[in-house]
Symmetry: C2
Subunit: 523 residues, 2 copies
């Protein structure tokens, strides 16, 4: 018996040893993952998507070397929820990045927000650690700026960037300027150490973010580590900016200057991967967090091409995004996929690339796109469009059904805040919240990408789509466990008064008294 | 003296002989010219211009092998005037293809039109004869259907197609069905010998037109003749049609089926040129006669991408066209030119290719694009937008100034006739004719391709553009000698009752009594 037991132990040891050897030597290193996430860039902003000035040669080239997705969606028409969805693979209604303060309201993470990404959510970089990845976020975090929400507490190893938008400048009395972090600590603030000239549009930030990306890639390459780079830059978010060599170079004005610098930077990142000989081991995906902010057009906003309205809305212009996948030697060049894709798929696909499975204890909305990317497979799946906790619309195949329509209030609209400038589809781009839950407005997005011609209620086509839509929505609702809403409470005291490291810079400010209130989300 | 005279005669003879020898042997044969003119196809209908379904692989490939023009214009937002301008190189206001029956009216050549292309106009095929070209028109002529306007009387050697649109079916009592001609004679009528099934959308016409093109090319190649093929097909004009193999194959519905068949046909024409080894000696240009007819969308109309309104209007959607130049070995692959181009440039450029100069006794509006095509040169030039004899707008560089705005009347609009569905720019997409001649509405088309944000009257930018615009318009007006308007008079008696050849087919109909009236042009 003792001999048998010893032999068994020996055998077990051998098996363990072999497994370990195979894991380090035999198994190939998983590919690097680079997610290039733009801010408020629209579907129509790239030459390959029809922008008339055709000023994105590098992105167009990336598309010609990879796979273009004409039907790829953000998870929300606003930045913070969309980014939370990307990193969790889950709809904002599940991961808590929404508000219940009023009906169908978009909410995000301004300085006064109390909430942020809950610890209970598993973020992509956290999970990728298990496969040996080193992760860096460059740019905008936007998942909460209080200490417990720091990206390095949620799986990232490095950070260079900011927790909020680059709004400002502020007076550091009623409101502090937004901090810029390197890793754990603030290294300065926008409009101070990191200037943005609102008059000229000049800022060097994209160049800094580019350098951060290139340096990280080179360092990881030296270490022979698989890496995850989340390059979340924000030059195309109002106030848009570009560095001096790009200012005034676009036919599209300042917004176009920003796009040209972004395009140039993407070219440089792809070139570096090629020059380091790691292109074939690097999966790169380019997309944006939500549609172009037409409210800021034309000087500070981009283009959603032929699609209806923009950011803040659940029309196509608010949530359909440019999307390009690039992985030379794996993804065949010059492909177009009509797979309905979602920003949440980047979570699941990245895990799949790393040989990992998504968490099995919760609903994950993201699909693994590898069968699409590598074999051109198409998978039926719905796209859900939320504002707050209200399901506004769903797309199934080519059909989109609107259960609620709203752009913004008459009051805002009359003040000149227009999410659909120059567009007006009667009964669709409404300024009152219109309910269509019984008889949704249904559009065929192939025949009518601009959502201008609702399909007749009495047609057989409508009835067929309605029954399929109803079923999908019932299933969705049945399985839905809304997360604790994170974007309900605001407080002046939680703003970026004294971020870690402020004392070294002499930049600590004194917060006002704590006065938690319900955040006001007007649209 | 006799000896000297004889020697002089001998010398002259030698010179003449040498000139003849050089002309036939020494000088290279001029390139073939193929103009692919679409009907009501919009800027946004091609993948390369951002159509989301990306169903035009052959046209996209053509663009990647040639030069794409994002800013190429028709000469009118309606078919007949635009086609007359193409073939004469002159604005409709000069060549007579307009009406003065009412202010700012679009007019074309329906069956009851009395006018047509005046003999005094020199058409492209007429001029190309001097350089030894054989010319064929396949498809829609649209420059008048009375005997004196027959394309073979205006320089074409062959014709297969129809004089008017493929509207119908008619009862052959109040209105005859449109004839289809082969050369001088009618060979049948639409909805009779050449069926179009309005219910299913099936028609074999594009296949017939394709075959005509391929046969012509092969025949000319055998004869070693330079040829001019004007392939003016009309599958994308309502009622749109496709042949059975293409029906139901598009994600865009029936209109998309028509586009797919057109795309396939263009691919076959380019392939034939390649297979015959004459691609490098064939200049091919693809464009459309006016913007997509949004009034027929979504089932029967295409897309103008991010541009405002469509056919019938002088907004960008009415006159900015897809345009691709292809000439392997001469035009470098994969270029985009921001030259402002015009359909009238095809006249001058074709003459230039043939080694000919345009007529010097009249104003020619078309530019020679060869310096653009071959050396990437950019030339400043205005684009004029007319409705009838009213100058509605002008574009200079990136700036467009509207002197009049109008879509259609309130009366038509209330009947559901909408040239700008889903679009509404206050003070711009007006339903009354609005004069802005003193203070034009000015847009920057690079920053604002959708003509949504007029530049402020009080800005320095506005003042600068205004003064340049005023000067250009003054020059234009000074030199303008309007042609005799051809589209003023209508008469039921001139319809296609008894086209030549009808007796052979037993298809002659008896015209009603002659009752000339002023044509009614409602918009």
């Amino acid at each position: 018996m003792a001999a048998v037991a010893a032999a068994t132990r020996g055998w077990r040891l051998l098996v363990l040893l072999c497994t370990a050897v195979l894991a380090t030597a035999g198994a190939p290193q998983p590919p690097n993952i680079v997610l290039l996430l733009m801010d408020d860039m629209g579907w129509g902003d790239l030459g390959v998507y029809g922008e008339p000035s055709k000023e994105t040669p590098n992105l167009d080239q990336m598309a010609s070397e990879g796979m273009l997705f004409p039907s790829f969606y953000s998870a929300n028409p606003l930045c913070s929820p969309s980014r939370a969805a990307l990193l969790t693979g889950r709809l904002p209604i599940r991961n808590g990045f929404y508000t219940t303060n009023a009906h169908a309201r978009n909410a995000y993470t301004p300085q006064e927000i109390v909430g942020g990404i809950p610890d209970s959510e598993h973020l992509l970089p956290e999970l990728l650690q298990k496969a040996g990845y080193t992760s860096k976020i460059v740019g905008k975090w936007h998942l909460g700026h209080r200490p417990q929400f720091h990206p390095l507490k949620h799986g990232f190893d490095e950070w260079f960037g900011s927790p909020n938008c680059h709004f400002g400048p502020y007076d550091n009395r009623a409101k502090p300027n937004i901090p810029v972090y390197r890793d754990w600590e603030m290294v300065g603030r926008f409009y101070e150490e990191f200037p943005i000239n609102l008059k000229t549009g000049e800022a060097n930030l994209t160049q800094i973010y580019l350098q951060e990306a290139l340096d990280f890639i080179k360092r990881q390459q030296m270490k022979q580590h698989p890496f995850f780079l989340y390059w979340a830059i924000d030059a195309t978010h109002a106030p848009v900016y570009a560095s001096r060599p790009f200012l005034g170079t676009s036919q599209r004005g300042r917004y176009g200057d920003a796009v040209r610098e972004v395009d140039d930077s993407v070219g440089k990142i792809l070139s570096l991967l090629r020059n380091l000989g790691i292109a074939e081991n690097s999966f790169v995906f380019f997309t944006s967090d939500n549609g172009a902010a037409l409210v800021s057009a034309p000087k500070q906003g981009g283009s959603n091409g032929p699609f209806l309205c923009g950011k803040q809305t659940t029309f196509e212009g608010g949530m359909r995004e440019p999307a390009i996948a690039w992985w030379p030697g794996h993804i065949a060049a010059g492909q177009v996929s009509h797979q309905l894709g979602s920003i949440m798929d980047l979570f699941t696909t990245s895990l799949s690339l790393a040989g990992l499975k998504p968490p099995s204890d919760r609903v994950i909305d993201g699909l693994d796109l590898l069968p699409t990317l590598l074999q051109g497979q198409l998978t039926d799946r719905p796209i859900f469009y939320y504002r707050g906790n209200t399901l506004m619309a769903v797309t199934l195949g080519q059909y989109k059904a609107h259960f609620w329509t709203w752009t913004n209030s008459w009051r805002e609209f009359k003040q000149g805040i227009d999410f659909c400038p120059g567009q007006n589809v009667s009964g669709v781009t409404t300024h009152t919240q219109e309910e269509h839950t019984e008889l949704p407005l249904i559009f065929h997005l192939g025949r009518d990408p601009g959502e201008r011609f609702p399909i007749s209620f009495v047609s057989a086509e409508y009835q067929d789509v309605l029954s399929r839509t109803t079923w999908i929505v019932q299933q969705h609702r049945k399985a839905l466990v809304p997360g604790q809403p994170q974007l309900n409470v605001c407080n002046q005291a939680v703003m970026n008064w004294a971020p870690p490291g402020c004392e070294k810079l002499g930049k600590c400010l004194t917060p006002p008294e704590s006065t938690p209130t319900k955040c006001l989300w007007p649209h």
